[in-house]
Symmetry: C2
DNA sequence: GCCATTATACCGACCGGTTGGTATGTATCA
DNA sequence: TGATACATACCAACCGGTCGGTATAATGGC
């Protein structure tokens, strides 16, 4: 039989958000029409404007969902690292390694980051929407900076470095690697860039001989 | 008297390209209308379609100009570094330092990179246009990788690293820092991120004890 | 030097198609 | 039976692009 046309408004909403995200990462927000979104989502314009007041509303809802997932993902990774090691430096290295694993396990080419997509069309969004980007960026900075200072307390860094910008390196390098992967279509690039961030931390905080990571004594 | 309406087609063309670039970095390509471009450039639609066959043509011409400047800038920096030091590692460190200087000297907030802007609307451009992005990315990889291998020959790295992805770190980190600056509006961020790349190279290729240069065995 | 001819550079009204958004109708649920 | 969750037809505004026209510069014959 045909699908019995079950009603599931939450799923419809999610399908629209999913379709919008995929299209926006390929075409940008402006070039992604409402018709194209509902076409891909298997919905109609009526459904779209029932769930979202406007296209701008969708933009905000979409990036809020994205930011929440991003945040949960980061905190989950840190929690997992915290269970595996009590050393803050090891936790950071593990966190990066987790991301590397995920990048390596990816099937399709990385579709890109919604934050970067938005910021290169920044003038199209209202300040409440852009505030989500800022807050997400600052969250990364805050969380990683705290962990880095813990690590520095245990393992005095071999050079004096600014901890804020060192924390920013995580976000920065991620975004840059996303741009580069999208440009070259090279799936391995993400993990290989992350590897260098790990190397840097190991060299910076590691023992003077620069040997590979050792479990904390 | 009024400006005597001098004819200068090349300048008109450049003015259109300049206006387009500024608008595209803020709104993206799709949301930048031809009317907006010519409005900002002080030209008309007639002039636009006289100089460019279509909006897509402008996109290609614009990114080609951008790529040529980017390439010239990189090669100039390397040439300048080559005059100041004969050591390839020092040349790389100088190259980064030059970029840091420029970032620090900037008045207005960094407007962003056209490559990243395009890649997040990738589906809007034909392959010839996207090829410009790829070629520019690969140029950075090629040039820096060659220099890094020279450096590694003189200063054996303290860890085994993949030189290709190490070369990619330059482009990657730049793009990421651009995204982050655009998000936070923090002018100092660019130079501070570049500083870490310099640190990484110094730690990686530098002497083990941090005192004297180790002669190659 | 001078004028006729041609090519270039530009102008701006206009066109068909697409856009975000609305109005109205209908089916499904509580 | 009222409210929710859609579906569809429609609209005004805007989009890239065209086209007839004009003003200026370059060219060539004399």
């Amino acid at each position: 039989m045909e699908s019995p046309r079950v009603r599931d408004p939450e799923r419809t909403r999610e399908r629209i958000l999913d379709a919008a995200q995929a299209l926006i990462l390929d075409h940008g927000f402006s070039a992604t029409s409402v018709d194209a979104i509902v076409g891909r989502a298997g919905a109609t314009k009526g459904a779209f404007f029932h769930h979202f007041g406007s296209k701008a509303d969708l933009a905000k809802a979409l990036v809020e969902r994205y930011a929440a997932l991003d945040r949960a993902h980061l905190e989950q990774g840190l929690a997992r690292a915290g269970k595996l090691s009590s050393d803050p430096l090891q936790q950071l290295l593990l966190l990066i390694a987790f991301y590397e694993e995920e990048f390596e396990a990816m099937q399709e080419p990385f579709p890109g980051c919604l934050f970067a997509s938005y910021i290169y069309e920044a003038k199209l969004f209202d300040d409440a929407t852009l505030a989500v980007l800022r807050e997400s960026t600052l969250l990364w900075r805050r969380v990683l900076r705290a962990k880095l200072e813990e690590a520095a307390a245990v393992h005095p860094p071999r050079r004096e470095v600014d901890m804020e910008s060192l924390a920013d390196l995580f976000y920065s390098l991620s975004e840059g690697a996303f741009v580069m992967t999208k440009t070259l279509g090279d799936k391995t690039l993400l993990a290989r860039q992350a590897r260098h961030l790990r190397n840097y931390l190991e060299l910076l905080f590691g023992p003077a001989d620069g040997a590979a990571t050792r479990p904390p004594s």
